[in-house]
Amino acid sequence: MNFPSDLLYTKDHEWVKIENGLATVGITDYAQSELGDIVYLQLPAPPGRVEQGRAFGTIEAVKAVSDIYAPLSGTIEAVNEVLASTPELVNQDPYGKGWMVRIKPSILETEKQNLLDPEAYKALVG
């Protein structure tokens, strides 16, 4: 199982990469492996607003449907359009081509405290 060191994580198994004031969000390798084959994603269109800890989309996998929770509050700046036709990228490359949305965080410094570092996340999923 892969836990890249330059990412922050949520207990709901999303990852966040903060770069140049933007947060790229996806689900973790652990999450995609637990879900199995992903067949659809429902993601909001920009410029939707999201709120930390609130569901903003759904993932339909063969085995189950599950919600995707926003790791940070803010506005959606971009959605990974490619996932509409190739959702399997989330299984194949969860930290790369399988990214889901880019968020412009509104209260990053406060909310960052609620995210997990790689060690803490690794401990969570054991």
């Binding site: 199995g36 084959d37 339909e60």
Partner: protein, 362 residues
Amino acid sequence: MAARPTALTPIHEKLGAKMVDFGGFYMPLQYTSIRAEHRRVRTTVGVFDVSHMGEFVFRGPDAEAFLDWVTVNNVRKLQMHQVQYSCACYPDAGIVDDLLVYRLPDHFLMVVNAANLEKDWAWFVEQKRGNCEFENTSDRTSLLAVQGRNAEALVQKLTKTNLSTIQYYWCVEGEVATVKTLISRTGYTGEDGFELMVKNEDAQKLWGALFDAGKEFDIEPVGLGARDSLRLEMKYCLYGNDIDKTTNPLEAGLGWITKLQKGDFLGREPLLRVKEEGLKRKLIGFEIEGTGFPRPHYPILSNGKQVGQVTSGTVSPMLERGIGMGYVPAELAEIGTPLEIDARGHLLPARIVETPFYQRPY
């Protein structure tokens, strides 16, 4: 109670399969990907460990009469080495289980669902009549399903039995990879293929031989996840989803195995009444128009009103759209009828379609 392993569990674990508890057994859900395994069976050949299935042996002069009494299909018409799809009903016509009956030289063999193994055994023991002996051989029997268009060529490499002479739903006792095997041209995928029944101690040897011989046929192991989507593309019923003690075989579309004229059997009286009065509801197959994933228990709506619920559903890996099954009132069960599936508050437009959903191209 801990889930029971099969003789092949060490192999599944070594292959890195995702293991789940299914019907009390510790079984492989998938090895790599449900959709890839599904397509493997539809295009070349896949092998399933289905050793969780139960096997009962019935012997004695009254075995045939007993089985004819407890199952809905006509056991008397079953020829030597022929296999019959059937189901057992309660006296009220609710379904105990769906099953296969084999006529073999000195006994009948029945294959039942793993999740129903204990229940079925208790039921048959309770119904016992005449001079008939029962034996539950499930714990010492392994079953491998080799399914897909390359199945015959693959298994033929490992046996002297001429497989081309075995018709669909017939079987032969032979040897595969020098292992004593009941070779049966049956399956739960809609593909050509065989189910190979062996003793537990021979299961790993047979599995190994199949994979050694199977490289040139693009063989891969297939888990229960793909087994479910494969059977669903064929609209084959799954006990616990599409049929159970609250459904009767006629409304489940199993009229073709229900031989009401064969003589008396358990469930016949209420089934005759159902037939006379007409079906109140029918198990239909529907397709989602557009994207969407119908899941079991989602409400089925017609003109905004709930008329049933989804019993099985998936996104078909071959059709690449949502398909499912469910009971709707008989007057709505026409091909082409528009429906809506309530997917957690999202209404997905759907339409009743001809089944099987998938037709094999050979």
